[in-house]
C-alpha cells in the first residue's frame, strides 16, 4: 500500500476538508493508496513548519522527501519557490490552465508561475455585529471616526498574533501611506518607507481607542462574545464559524475602502516528493471544478481557487449568490487587494514594530 503524505497548514477546517473530503475521494479512485494528512497549525507558522521541514531534508541531501503534497500560505509558497523546494508541476495537471488569478503567478513579488495552484482565495474584511452597528464604516476614514465615537468597540490582533491584523495594518498603509498598486509590484524602493511616518503615528493614535484581541480566532471570538462589535477577520474563517454556528447570525462583513489584502492558499508539490505522480493527481482532483464547487464553495463558502467561471457552472445560482451575499463581487474587485511585495511587506511590519508598538 502506498501512502500519499499531505501536509496542510491552516485552520482545522482546512485540514478536515483535506482529510474527510478530498482524501476519501482520492482513495476511491486510487485503490491501494492511502492519504495521510497532517495539520501543521494555523497561520504562517503552520506553513513555515512545512518549509523548514522540507529545507531540512534538502540540506541533508535526501533523495526522497516525506511530503508529497503541501498546502501553504501565499507568502511561504513564494519563499519555497525561491529556495528551490518545489517542483514546477502546474503544466502537468489538467486543471493547470483553469487558474486565472494573478496570485497564481506572483506571490508577494516572487514569480511562482507553474509551481503553485490556489486551493482557494481568502480575503480580509471588517466583521461587525449588525445588532449594534447599523451603519458600518465603508472606509478607513469612517472607521477612524467610528472608533472615536465607540472607544474599545473595535478590535484587532496587532501584527504578531495572526494575519488578519497584519492585513488590517497593510490596508492602513494602503490608505494612508502608499497605494496598493505601487506596493504590490516591483521594483522595490527603500525610500518609500520613509513616507509612512504619519500613517504610523496616526495608527498609534488609533490604537488607543481600540481593543487588542488574541489572534485571528480571538477577534472572531470576541465578536461572538460581544466584547467588541467590529474587527478585521478572514472571510473564509468567518464563514466557517458562521456555518458551524460558532458566531451569531447577526455578524456581517464589510470590505472597506481603499481596500484590504487577501491571499490564496497554495497546493504545492515538493521537489523531491516520493510520489510525484500521485501528488499531481491529487492536486488535479483538488482543483477540479467539481471539487472546487462542492467542497470549497458549497461547503465552506470560500472563494474558489480556480477561475470562477468554471466553478459557477457547476453550482446552482443560490449557492453561488450566497458567496457574495455580504461582499459584492464589485466590492471584491474594487477593494480586494493583494499583499505588497516582500520587501515592502517587511518594511510595513518592521515599521509597525518600531513606530507603533514600541
Amino acid at each position: 500500500e502506498t501512502t500519499l503524505n499531505v501536509a496542510s497548514a491552516g485552520s482545522q477546517n482546512m485540514v478536515d476538508y483535506v482529510k474527510t473530503y478530498l482524501a476519501p475521494k482520492f482513495e476511491a479512485t486510487h485503490p491501494g493508496v492511502k492519504v495521510n494528512v497532517v495539520g501543521t497549525g494555523p497561520g504562517d507558522a503552520g506553513s513555515h513548519k512545512i518549509m523548514e521541514k522540507l529545507s531540512a531534508q534538502n540540506d541533508s541531501g535526501l533523495a526522497k522527501w516525506d511530503i508529497d503534497v503541501a498546502v501553504v500560505h501565499q507568502k511561504i509558497g513564494g519563499e519555497m519557490v525561491e529556495d528551490g523546494l518545489l517542483s514546477k508541476y502546474r503544466s502537468e495537471v489538467k486543471t493547470g490552465d483553469m487558474v486565472s488569478r494573478d496570485s497564481a503567478k506572483n506571490a508577494l513579488g516572487i514569480n511562482v508561475d507553474g509551481y503553485v495552484m490556489p486551493m482557494f482565495h481568502s480575503q480580509t474584511a471588517i466583521a461587525y455585529n449588525s445588532d449594534f452597528v447599523e451603519n458600518p464604516p465603508t472606509s478607513y476614514d469612517e472607521l477612524v471616526q467610528w472608533t472615536k465615537k465607540h472607544p474599545k468597540a473595535f478590535g484587532y490582533n496587532g501584527i504578531k498574533n495572526g494575519m488578519s491584523g497584519v492585513s488590517f495594518v497593510t490596508g492602513w498603509i494602503y490608505a494612508y501611506g502608499t497605494d496598493a498598486e505601487r506596493l504590490s509590484s516591483a521594483p522595490y524602493d527603500k525610500s518609500v518607507e520613509s513616507t509612512w511616518n504619519k500613517a504610523f503615528s496616526e495608527l498609534k493614535e488609533f490604537n488607543k481607542n481600540i481593543t487588542f484581541t488574541p489572534g485571528n480566532a480571538g477577534t472572531l471570538d470576541m465578536l461572538n462574545r460581544g466584547e467588541i462589535f467590529m474587527g478585521p477577520v478572514w472571510v473564509d474563517m468567518f464563514y466557517s464559524w458562521k456555518e458551524q454556528g460558532k458566531i451569531p447570525p447577526s455578524l456581517k462583513l464589510s470590505l472597506i475602502a481603499p481596500g484590504m489584502p487577501g491571499q490564496p492558499m497554495y497546493y504545492v508539490a515538493p521537489a523531491k516528493a516520493a510520489h510525484p505522480q500521485l501528488a499531481r493527481e491529487f492536486i488535479e482532483l483538488a482543483t477540479s471544478p467539481e471539487v472546487q464547487a462542492n467542497g470549497i464553495v458549497k461547503q465552506f463558502n470560500w472563494y474558489p481557487g480556480i477561475d470562477a467561471n468554471y466553478v459557477e457552472a457547476k453550482l446552482d445560482k443560490a449557492t453561488w449568490e450566497k458567496l457574495f451575499a455580504e461582499i459584492t463581487p464589485s466590492d471584491l474587485s474594487k477593494y480586494g487587494k493583494s499583499f505588497p511585495i516582500g520587501p515592502y511587506f517587511d518594511d510595513i511590519k518592521e515599521g509597525y514594530e518600531r513606530n507603533v508598538s514600541n
Partner: protein
C-alpha cells in the same frame, strides 16, 4: 480538687471547629477550588457546546456534534492517542535511565563543575527551541531518525531531561548519607547499595520527575512535527491545530481525551507506590 468535665464528644468537636482559622482555611480552600475548577468547568462545558454566543451566559445549544467530528473515521484519534502514550512512556523510561545516574552524581557536593552541568541540562528547556528544531530535523534526516519513534522519543527526552535531572538531583540530595553508609558497612557494594537503599529513598522524587517528563512529552508538539511527521501522529498535533485556531470544541474534547491517560498514569502511581513514599511526594 475537682476538674471540669468536658468529656462529651460534642464539646470537643465544637472547640476544634469553632476556631476562626478553621473557617479561614475553609474559605481559602473554597476559593482555590473555584479558581481551579472554573477553567476546568469551562473546558467541560465547551466539550458539549454546539453554539455559544453573546449574550448567552451559557451555551445556546448543547450537543455532541463535535464528538462525532473528533471521532470520525478519518481522524485516527485512538491510534494517535496510543502513539502519544507510547512515546510519553518510553520518554519517561529514557529520561529515567540517563538522569538517575546523572542526578545521583550531581547530588554530591564534590562534583566538579556542578553548576556547569546543571546549567547544561537547563538548555533544552531554556533555549526556545523553535529555531533549533530545524537543525535537529536536518541532523535526524542524516541519522535516518526522522519519522521514527526513536527520533521522537529522543527529542522529547532531551526536552524532558531538565525536569528529570533537576528533580532527581533534589531527590538524591535529600537522602540521608548515613543510610548509604550503613549499607556499605554491611558489605554491600556501591551498586547494590544504590539500588537497594538510595534508589528507594529517592523514589518519590524520581516519580515526581517522571510525571513531569510524561506531561512534557504529552504537551510537545513542535518537535514531534519536525522529527515525527508525517509517519508519526500524536494527539497533541490535533489538539494544537484546533486550539491555536480557536476551535474550542475540538480542542476541549481532545484535551479531555488526553486527560484520560494522564489520570490513569496518576492512578497507577498511586497503586504501585507505597503510601509513605507518596507522603513524601506531598499530599
Amino acid at each position: 480538687m475537682s476538674y471540669p468535665q468536658t468529656n462529651s464528644l460534642l464539646a470537643k468537636v465544637n472547640i476544634r471547629y469553632l476556631r476562626p482559622s478553621f473557617w479561614l482555611q475553609c474559605v481559602f480552600i473554597l476559593l482555590l477550588a473555584l479558581v481551579l475548577f472554573g477553567p476546568i468547568m469551562n473546558l467541560l462545558i465547551w466539550t458539549v457546546t454546539e453554539s455559544w454566543y453573546f449574550p448567552h451566559a451559557l451555551p445556546s445549544q448543547w450537543g455532541f456534534k463535535y464528538w462525532q467530528q473528533v471521532f470520525n473515521p478519518y481522524s485516527d484519534v485512538s491510534g494517535s492517542l496510543f502513539t502519544s502514550l507510547l512515546i510519553a512512556v518510553l520518554t519517561v523510561v529514557v529520561c529515567l535511565i540517563v538522569s538517575i545516574p546523572a542526578g545521583y552524581a550531581l547530588s554530591k557536593r564534590s562534583m566538579p563543575f556542578r553548576i556547569f552541568w546543571m546549567l547544561l541540562f537547563l538548555i533544552p528547556q531554556a533555549f526556545p527551541n523553535l529555531t533549533v528544531y530545524m537543525n535537529i530535523a536536518r541532523l535526524f534526516y542524516d541519522f535516518g531518525l526522522n519519522g521514527t519513534l526513536l527520533g521522537v522519543i529522543i527529542v522529547h527526552s532531551v526536552h524532558g531531561l531538565m525536569f528529570s535531572i533537576w528533580i532527581s538531583v533534589a531527590a538524591f540530595s535529600s537522602t540521608d548519607p548515613m543510610l548509604e553508609r550503613a549499607s556499605r558497612n554491611l558489605g554491600a557494594g556501591p551498586f547494590y547499595t544504590f539500588f537497594h537503599i538510595v534508589l528507594p529513598q529517592a523514589a518519590p522524587g524520581l516519580i515526581a520527575s517522571s510525571i513531569f517528563v510524561f506531561l512534557e512529552s504529552l504537551d510537545e508538539f513542535t518537535g514531534t512535527f519536525f522529527v515525527g511527521s508525517p509517519n508519526i501522529t500524536t494527539l497533541p498535533l490535533l489538539l494544537y491545530t484546533a486550539s491555536m485556531e480557536g476551535n474550542y470544541q475540538i480542542a476541549s474534547i481532545t484535551a479531555l481525551i488526553l486527560l484520560v491517560p494522564s489520570i490513569l498514569f496518576m492512578v497507577i502511581i498511586h497503586k504501585f507506590m507505597k503510601p509513605e513514599m507518596l507522603s513524601k511526594l506531598g499530599k
